[in-house]
């Protein structure tokens, strides 16, 4: 693997955690399934193996604007499982698709009107009728597109979020948020529009949006100015007026020309409990109590040592990298990525944090990950890495946490790493 199209662009566990979906720059979706517990092969328990691979999006061309539309999958979101089949939404910059993934492990044999090889029989030669019987076959996993939600976004879609009502979902681009019904593809409702009448006055864009996990009328969206707005769809059809506005006052002593850029929120995620939400900006992760708009209740530094390098990071565009973040199943821990294939985990109860590395050289299968440390100045200790040696091309932008267990998925460019807590 080494081509650009293999770069993983999104990672998402389903509601049970048995399935893990990844989307890549080439428009492909790969779904991994967790192996069932098997007494004869105890080590295979918990391993994720490829379950299904399909091409979700293809590159397109917008003739009206003379622009290519990338096939890169920006986000995947699973639907709660309602029957034997699995459903997920996948989106690129412009179009959202609902995919059905179903298993087939039986086939019918003994048709009346056709041969085993499919050739039609001459009806006059049929003298007896029989009931076809189902015979087992090798498992086949099929993915088929069930709905295509297109032509609703002028700007690039950055988020999709399934509502707790399981009937609707939202899609957000830089300037607008639309509400869809999963069954209806030919229309959507615009619920947020921050496009100024005069584009010259544009100074802020929407960066992420998510539905509340339990309250189906509530959603939040974050902006490039470091603000989060919580909206209640019951109050009005067009949620241009927020119900709550979250913003941390700026620290005047650390202000620089880069302050706004590093305050831009790249991801927002509700906790499983629905009491908190977490935001990721360039240097930190913040946990907010939904009842307190004035400031976050927790701030975790991801890589504060980069603050003195902001000018270089602006020049090489790394300052615009959009890192995601995620909660553990119990909301007791949070995780986010960094550079040099490092990712960070913060335990909210013990207040401890750790830096780990996702790389083949540094981790053997079933060996524990060694904590890493970045040396910020002065004498570099053994095993520490100096800030100037960090590889800024190795970024971990996408991570996911199993909804119930301590299993995490970390995407490092075009490699997927799955780590889990050792079970005795």
């Amino acid at each position: 693997m080494g081509s650009h199209s293999d770069i993983i662009s999104t990672v998402e566990f389903n509601y049970s955690g048995d399935l893990l979906a990844t989307g890549d720059k080439g428009g492909r979706v790969v779904i991994f399934q967790r192996e069932q517990e098997n007494k004869s092969r105890p080590h295979s328990r918990g391993e994720y193996n490829v379950y299904s691979t399909f091409q979700s999006h293809e590159p397109e061309f917008d003739y009206l604007k003379s622009l290519e539309i990338e096939e890169k999958i920006n986000k995947i979101r699973w639907l709660p499982q309602q029957n034997a089949a699995h459903f997920l939404l996948s989106t690129n910059d412009k179009t959202i698709k609902l995919w059905k993934i179903s298993e087939r492990d039986k086939r019918a044999e003994g048709y009346n009107l056709k041969d085993e090889d499919g050739r039609l029989r001459d009806p006059f030669r049929i003298t007896a009728l029989r009931v076809p019987i189902l015979k087992p076959m090798d498992l086949m996993v099929e993915a088929s597109p069930r709905r295509i939600f297109a032509n609703a976004h002028t700007y690039h879609i950055n988020s999709i979020s399934v509502n707790s009502d399981h009937e609707t979902y939202l899609s957000a681009d830089d300037l607008r948020i639309n509400l869809w019904h999963l069954e209806i593809t030919d229309r959507s409702f615009n619920i947020v529009d921050i496009k100024p009448v005069n584009m010259e006055e544009l100074t802020e864009v929407i960066t992420a949006a998510e539905f509340h996990p339990h309250q189906c009328n509530v959603f939040v969206y974050s902006s490039s100015k470091g603000t989060i707005r919580l909206c209640d769809m019951r109050s009005s059809a067009l949620c241009d007026r927020h119900a709550k506005f979250f913003e941390e006052p700026e620290d005047p002593s650390s202000r620089s020309f880069f302050s706004e850029i590093i305050s831009s929120i790249s991801d927002v995620k509700f906790s499983h409990s629905g009491r908190y939400m977490m935001t990721r900006d360039y240097l930190s992760v913040k946990v907010w109590d939904l009842n307190m708009e004035s400031r976050p209740v927790e701030t975790h530094q991801v890589h504060e040592y980069l603050r003195s390098k902001l000018c270089s990071l602006y020049e090489n565009d790394c300052i615009f990298d959009k890192f995601e973040c995620c909660w553990s199943g119990s909301d007791s821990a949070i995780m986010t990525g960094s550079y040099n294939n490092f990712f960070r985990m913060f335990d909210r109860t013990t207040r401890r944090d750790v830096t780990l590395e996702a790389s083949r050289e540094n981790s053997k299968p079933r060996a524990s990950l060694k904590p890493r440390k970045v040396c910020t100045g002065g004498k570099r200790k053994k095993d520490e890495i100096s800030v100037d040696s960090l590889d800024f091309n190795k970024k971990i932008l996408h991570t996911a946490w199993h909804p119930a267990e301590n299993i995490i998925a970390v995407a490092a460019t075009n490699n997927l790493y799955i780590f889990q807590d050792k079970v005795n």
């Binding site: 003379s66 690039h156 830089d174 584009m199 005047p252 020309f257 003195s308 020049e315 615009f320």
Partner: protein, 245 residues
């Protein structure tokens, strides 16, 4: 370099006649800060142009860079440095800017190991890499004035600067027929040669190379029946050559 921008304090408005830099705690000497700020401005303007060259401009990134440029502009206006530069300093200033930007580029170059040195010989475009010097940046920004890089600025220049910022955002959405003329009024025919050079495909408007060019091409190829077509005349002719119709 890094510390200055990381910890630089927001400049308070200058008292009359007072040396502004002297009043700031924790910042370095005057010329260094001005140089670095100018370098940041130069870099930002280059980035905004680069936005136009990409297949699809990232709106969030463009907005953040444009806001940065506005911040610098505001501060320079407050400082009084967004004014006519004294003649004796004018000759020296571009070289100084070259130096500081080169230093900035160097530190990143060591990381990336590939960025070429700025074109020292081109006094009009300090800090640009040679590949970019083929892009007449002032033209690409559609400023009627000669160069945005020079600190000498009349009101007109500042207007041109703001106009360019505005136009950057206008190009990100489809143009209405009325504004097409305004867009084209600043452009001479050499721009179309530039299009050909950049896309490597003379006569093709379907290059998808960035919203800046796209704005021109899409404006040049309005939907059938659009009333602006009748107004273009000579422009139509140029466009026809591009699309080979």
């Amino acid at each position: 370099m890094g510390t200055m921008f990381a910890r630089g304090l927001k400049r308070k408005s200058a008292e009359d006649g007072e040396d502004v830099e002297g009043g700031l705690a924790g910042t370095q000497a005057t010329p260094s800060y001005s140089l670095q700020r100018q370098s940041l401005l130069d870099m930002s303007l280059v980035k905004l142009q680069l936005c136009h060259m990409l297949v699809e401009p990232n709106l969030c990134r463009s907005v953040l860079i444009a806001n940065t440029v506005r911040q610098i502009q505001e501060e320079m206006t407050q400082d009084g440095t967004w004014r006519v530069v004294a003649p004796q300093a004018a000759g020296r200033a571009p070289l100084d800017r070259l130096v500081s930007t080169e230093i900035l580029c160097r530190s990143v170059r060591e990381q990336e190991g590939e960025r070429p040195a700025p074109d020292v010989g081109d006094g009009r475009m300090p800090g640009l890499v040679p590949g970019l010097s083929a892009v007449p940046s002032a033209q690409a920004l559609r400023s009627p004035q000669s160069s945005l890089w020079e600190v000498d600025s009349s009101r007109e220049n500042r207007g041109g600067f703001q106009k360019s910022l505005d136009q950057i955002f206008e190009t990100l959405e489809s143009k209405t027929p009325g504004s097409v003329e305004e867009l084209f009024s600043d452009v001479d025919s050499s721009y179309y040669d530039l299009d050909a050079v950049l896309t490597g495909m003379v006569g093709s408007t379907q290059s998808g190379h960035g919203s800046g060019l796209q704005a021109f091409t899409s404006a040049a190829t309005p939907p059938p029946g659009s009333s602006c077509r009748s107004d273009l005349g000579e422009l139509d002719h140029a466009v026809e050559i591009l699309v080979e119709t």
